[in-house]
């Protein structure tokens, strides 16, 4: 098979594995939906003081898409790669003629496709249940932000596997990194309720920049551009650092046992 056909082959089986794994379906697909429903129910009648005041639900739809993308990429990849590594499957794959990059590209493709599906799912739910307009005219900006973010957080997820010694350590390490940053970056708690010091702190990490880039595309300020080039550049730079670490530090053989 050619390289591309091999990637397509690998991708097909990665998709099967993803959708059959209850943990990946729950945390990547169901959990963001549940979060949106909870936030909309609890804070649905309020407004957020962002861009001249918007409905809370209008705020949470892009926020939850941001979380979904990170979950489908960084979280899902870091967990599934560590599990495959410690089970010996990565090592086993290296014993076959398949070029190693095919495996990684297949997994990354899987993550990006799931991230796009989550965009469609959350945007549809927002429109149907809460009347949050889908900004069709900004579709190029939305897709660009999503793809840049998904690619960058894939690289970060692969890089993160180097810091995870075992399967049991995967979930605690990933969640210890992501959960606090979701709070501090305005994903769970709207911007206008966060002290400016907190936002400055969150600005040091990629989640806040990705959120701003995506939010800017989904809910652009009046007269402003939907393309948040500055934030996108920061996200891409984080991705590049992740890629560098991934290339140098990724291992194919189990660490334990």
């Amino acid at each position: 098979m050619s390289g591309l056909a091999l990637v397509a082959h690998q991708f097909r089986y990665d998709q099967k594995t993803f959708w059959r794994n209850p943990a990946s379906v729950f945390f990547t697909v169901a959990f963001p939906v549940i979060l949106l429903l909870i936030f909309a129910t609890v804070f649905g009648d309020e407004t957020v003081d962002v861009g001249g005041g918007i409905e809370t639900t209008t705020y949470y739809v892009p926020a939850i898409v941001t979380l979904s993308v990170i979950s489908a990429t960084m979280q899902s990849l870091a967990m599934s790669l560590v599990i495959a590594r410690e089970d010996g499957r990565l090592k086993r794959g290296r014993g076959t003629p398949m070029p190693p990059w095919v495996f990684i590209v297949g997994r990354v493709g899987n993550s990006i496709v799931v991230a796009l599906l989550m965009l469609v799912l959350i945007a549809t739910l927002g429109r149907v249940a809460y009347g949050v307009d889908v900004p069709w005219e900004h579709l190029p900006a939305i897709v660009l932000a999503l793809v840049v973010g998904a690619a960058a957080f894939c690289c970060l997820g692969i890089a993160l596997t180097a810091a995870i010694p075992s399967q049991d350590a995967a979930a605690p390490i990933v969640n210890a990194l992501l959960l606090p940053l979701y709070f501090l970056s305005g994903i769970f708690i709207p911007d206008d309720q966060l002290p400016s010091g907190v936002i400055h702190f969150a600005d040091a990490f990629p989640i806040r920049h990705f959120f701003e880039a995506f939010f800017g595309a989904y809910v652009p300020a009046d007269g402003g551009s939907a393309f948040e080039w500055g934030n996108l550049a920061v996200v891409a730079a984080w991705g590049a650092v992740g890629l560098l670490i991934a290339v140098r530090r990724f291992r194919w053989t189990p660490r334990s046992g």
Partner: protein, 287 residues
């Protein structure tokens, strides 16, 4: 393979091994845990780099061999958990896609005795069945040479027997099999030739039956007479048995549980590996 050497943090795990495996034979690499079996086999498979010596596997140096070489070998690692969410058939299909000319899936299912389990998820298989699926995956590229690292460690007797049947079937296919094991009976049952390794060195080699000069060791004749067990060691078992049974017939004695046994292979093996381990400290530090 000539004078293969491998060191880990100042400890010699493999200390000058010479081996030659012939095409079409089942070769068992036998030794206790920590003897250097896995280190050696992983060097042969191209997973690890050696510190010294020369190796040719199917005409190439594993350290430098590429995808074309990997088309011709099959690997079963000592421990590998296959994807629990793929069925047996899907697992084989996934790996079949990596090879230019894979074996037919159904034929491979038959070969490893998993036809009835074709649609079961890999995660629901027993340990023995998972191992046979692993062997099936190693065979899916139709390799000339197959590496099996401790294929039955931790199995119950029935699972071992099933896996043995599968491995015995490989010889009929004309495959060359390089097998590591710490079970004497496994080597005896499956292998054409055996090398015993202890503390990173080969301490004996030969056919399973001729191993360790077993032919020249005394035979034990034992029986029960009037409730007491009698055991005699002799270098001439035919003569001794003749005398014994002649006397028993004459005097009308019942020799309960009469048997003549050659030295236990397990004993030969234990004495060989104990000698080997005695000559080198630090053998257990091999991974």
């Amino acid at each position: 393979m000539r004078s293969l050497r491998k060191r880990y943090g100042g400890v010699d795990a493999v200390r000058g091994i010479d081996l030659e495996v012939r095409r079409g034979e089942v070769f068992a690499f036998l030794g206790p845990n920590g003897a250097g079996k896995t280190t050696t086999v992983e060097i042969l498979e191209g997973y690890r780099e050696r510190d010294g010596g020369e190796i040719t596997v199917l005409g190439e140096d594993p350290q430098r061999a590429g995808g074309d070489w990997r088309e011709r070998i099959g690997v079963v690692l000592q421990s590998c958990r296959l994807d629990p969410y793929l069925s047996v058939r899907e697992s084989l299909e996934l790996y079949a896609g990596y090879y230019r000319s894979p074996r037919p899936i159904d034929e491979t299912l038959e070969l490893v005795g998993l036809r009835e389990k074709a649609d079961a998820r890999a995660g629901t298989l027993s340990g023995g069945q998972q191992r046979r699926l692993d062997v099936g995956i190693a065979l899916i590229g139709d390799p000339e040479l197959l590496f099996l690292d401790e294929p039955t460690t931790g199995f119950d007797p029935s699972a071992r027997r099933h896996t043995w049947e599968t491995i015995a079937g490989l010889r009929d296919l004309g495959k060359t099999v390089f097998l590591t094991t710490h079970y004497m009976d496994e080597a005896q049952r499956l292998a054409d030739r055996v090398a015993v390794i202890a503390a990173g060195r080969v301490v004996a080699r030969g056919t399973p039956d001729g191993l360790g000069d077993r032919e020249s060791l005394p035979t034990t004749i034992s029986y029960r007479l009037n409730g007491e067990t009698v055991s005699v060691q002799t270098d001439r078992p035919v003569e001794a048995l003749h005398e014994l049974t002649e006397r028993a017939l004459k005097e009308g004695l019942e020799l309960e549980g009469l048997e003549a046994t050659r030295p236990d292979l397990e004993e030969v093996y234990l004495s060989l590996t104990a000698e080997g381990a005695g000559t080198g400290a630090g053998a257990e530090s091999s991974p």
